[in-house]
């Protein structure tokens, strides 16, 4: 390596380090807070835990609630389950409904196609909060207030259009030739879809699923509006409870935030091999 190349190398790595530090600094503060024994966060340049302790973490995950039979049940576990259940169901409903819709939009011409697309686009233009009150009224009328089903329905109303847009784009990039080759090879249109289109679209489906999951998992305002019973809370609502009107349990909040991040990181890790770009490359000359 020439001196010039070495200098370039050092410089680019230095820049990368700055960028990484910039991105990770707040996260490091959260980690430091979560394990600090002090009750008040102190402003320091380098975020390291003071009087390291696992107490906050333990405190956050070991909340309990009384059960009707007089005992106690693990509250945090239930809330974690609420969050996972609602998010996975939202992603499944979103992707499940969107796959056939997106495929139809990508491949077929039919009456109302452009109007339908415009309507879908319109739903994406309004923030979910704008519909919080009508959703509240509708769920109340259906007796679904303060239920996971109600929350899933509300989340699906945004995850479905989002997933349709994502997947339509993905299906459009898959050459029609592939399906036609499968049909000439002896597949019905449906078999060609299942055995050729879906596997080729797998990375896009994985990404769409992940985004739909994360959107639901992180959502706070609707959950806080529609859920009133502590045992129905999803994790963002639980976290918010640590920051009260008169006092803020920052250490507990930080510890909670770390725990809440674990499932998303796990999901990323599991899905990353499906998200490899370029899986579709090489099928047709291009």
């Amino acid at each position: 390596m020439t001196a010039r190349a070495i200098a370039n190398n050092v410089l680019s790595h230095a820049l990368l380090l700055v960028a990484v530090a910039f991105a990770l600094y707040p996260v490091l503060w959260v980690v430091a807070l979560a394990f600090s024994g002090d009750s008040v966060p102190t402003a320091r340049a380098i975020p390291v835990p003071t009087a390291p302790t696992m107490d906050h973490l333990r405190e956050v995950v070991s909340t309990t609630r009384p059960t009707p039979d007089g005992g106690t049940a693990w509250l945090f576990g239930r809330q974690l389950a609420n969050s996972l259940l609602v998010s996975i169901a939202t992603a499944l409903v979103g992707v499940g409904v969107a796959i056939p819709v997106a495929y139809a939009l990508a491949r077929f011409e039919f009456v109302g196609k452009s109007g339908g697309m415009a309507t879908l686009l319109a739903t994406q233009m309004f923030p979910a909060v704008a519909s919080a009150v009508p959703l509240f009224i509708m769920l109340e009328a259906m007796g679904l207030l303060n239920t996971r089903t109600g929350l899933i329905l509300c989340y699906a109303s945004t995850s479905v259009p989002f997933a349709i847009f994502q997947l339509r784009g993905a299906f459009e990039t898959i050459p029609v030739d592939l399906e036609e080759a499968a049909m000439v090879d002896g597949a019905s249109r449906f078999e060609a879809f299942v055995r050729v289109v879906l596997p080729v679209a797998k990375p896009a489906i994985a990404v769409t699923f992940l985004f739909a999951f994360m959107t639901a998992y992180n959502e706070f305002i609707l959950a806080a509006t529609l859920l009133s019973d502590e045992s129905m809370f999803t994790l963002p609502v639980v976290l918010q409870r640590f920051i009260g009107e008169y006092d803020a349990q920052w250490e507990a909040f930080a510890a909670g935030a770390l725990v809440v991040s674990v499932p998303v990181m796990a999901l990323f890790y599991l899905l990353q091999k499906h998200m490899v770009a370029g899986l579709g490359a090489g099928g047709v000359k291009g």
Partner: protein, 358 residues
């Protein structure tokens, strides 16, 4: 092996009529080539045969059986796509086996067929690779293999060579013909390349604007084109056309660039019909030779010379008309020369309809 027949086949996309009544007859076991310029409807015709498009009108018969309404999977045809359309998520082995698996063929038969096809096409070392790791030529061979393992009675080829480089194209062309001769199945091949068409076909269908212009063996079509379009499309370099020539009053000669070119004394030709008529004269570049000044030769002024090795294509003008003369490379081409046309190699076309005047 089946014979393929279409009767009055029409296809419209919206208001555009792409096929205007096609009557095709491909005998079983033959290699038919559909050739024509882009937009002539040849690919649409192939897609109709495969069942990938539905006919607006007309009938498609495979071995006498009406398959017009059949889904592609029920037609038992194999097709090689221009893009190859290999399944990107499957290995070469799975690509080859896919069609057989769909038809619930026994695993040992699938294995045997895949092994055989791979041996024939030299794909054995590539069987566990994915399409993305293959070169263009290798992908093309996998696409061929996918058709071969099926043992279909009808092979359809949609411009399978157009994505290959020229050197490979010639080789694969020979391979395709070899496989056809080995398997004996009926083949229908679409191309816009008339060299491919001439070299591969037993039977040539020349298409233009959604209609079959002429059917015949490559040589028949070359020697005896039905009209000006076919004459211009088949043969390389293309036939020269000289518009606005007049047949002499006795019908024995035609006036080209103010020279009298004698017409052959043909039994079929009735001089009275042509006498005094304005026609378009067609001459193939290879049917002309450079001569000393002669009464029956026309003057030619070369402007650009394309040297191809053994021969030279001289682009230039016959009087007021542009044209090409193909001559041996060792002949010196002066600024202006006289070219002679063998009378039997003169083609006359109707100035209005373009039909060949015989």
């Amino acid at each position: 092996m089946v014979n393929v027949e279409t009767q009055g086949l029409r296809k419209s996309f919206g208001d555009t009529e792409v096929l205007k009544g096609i009557d095709l007859r491909v005998p079983e076991g033959s290699f038919a080539v559909l050739v024509g310029p882009s937009g002539c409807g040849k690919s649409t015709l192939l897609r109709l045969l495969a069942g990938l498009e539905q006919a607006t009108e007309g009938t498609i018969l495979f071995g006498g059986e009406d398959v017009t309404a059949y889904a592609p999977k029920d037609r038992d045809v194999a097709m090689v796509f221009q893009s190859y359309a290999l399944y990107p998520h499957m290995t070469v082995r799975d690509n080859l086996a896919f069609g057989l698996k769909l038809r619930k063929t026994a695993a040992d038969i699938i294995d045997a067929r895949v092994t055989e096809a791979a041996a024939v096409l030299g794909l054995e070392p590539l069987l566990e690779r994915f399409p993305r790791a293959l070169s263009g030529g290798q992908r093309q061979r996998v696409a061929m293999g996918r058709a071969i393992v099926r043992r279909s009675k009808l092979f359809l080829f949609d411009e399978p060579l157009s994505n290959l480089d020229p050197a490979l194209r010639t080789q694969v062309r020979v391979d395709i013909r070899k496989q056809h001769d080995r398997l004996g199945a009926t083949s229908i091949y679409v191309t816009h390349d008339q060299v491919e068409a001439m070299t591969l076909a037993d039977l040539l269908f020349v298409l233009s604007e959604g209609e079959v212009q002429q059917v015949g063996s490559p040589l028949e079509v070359y020697e005896d084109p039905a009209n000006r379009f076919v004459a211009g499309f088949v043969g390389s370099p293309a036939m020269n056309f000289i518009d606005g020539c007049r047949v002499s009053a006795d019908g024995a000669a035609v006036l080209v660039a103010e020279r009298r070119l004698p017409l052959p004394p043909s039994e079929g030709r009735e001089p009275s019909k042509l006498a005094g008529r304005e026609v378009c004269v067609g001459v193939r570049p290879h049917d002309m030779s450079i001569v000393e000044a002669s009464a029956h030769a026309i003057p030619f002024t070369p402007s650009i010379l394309e040297t191809l090795g053994p021969e030279v294509h001289a682009h230039g003008t016959f009087g007021a008309h542009e044209g090409v003369v193909a001559v041996s490379a060792d002949l010196p081409l002066a600024r202006g020369v006289m070219v002679h046309v063998r009378p039997t190699r003169l083609y006359l076309f109707d100035q209005a309809t373009g039909a060949t005047l015989r």
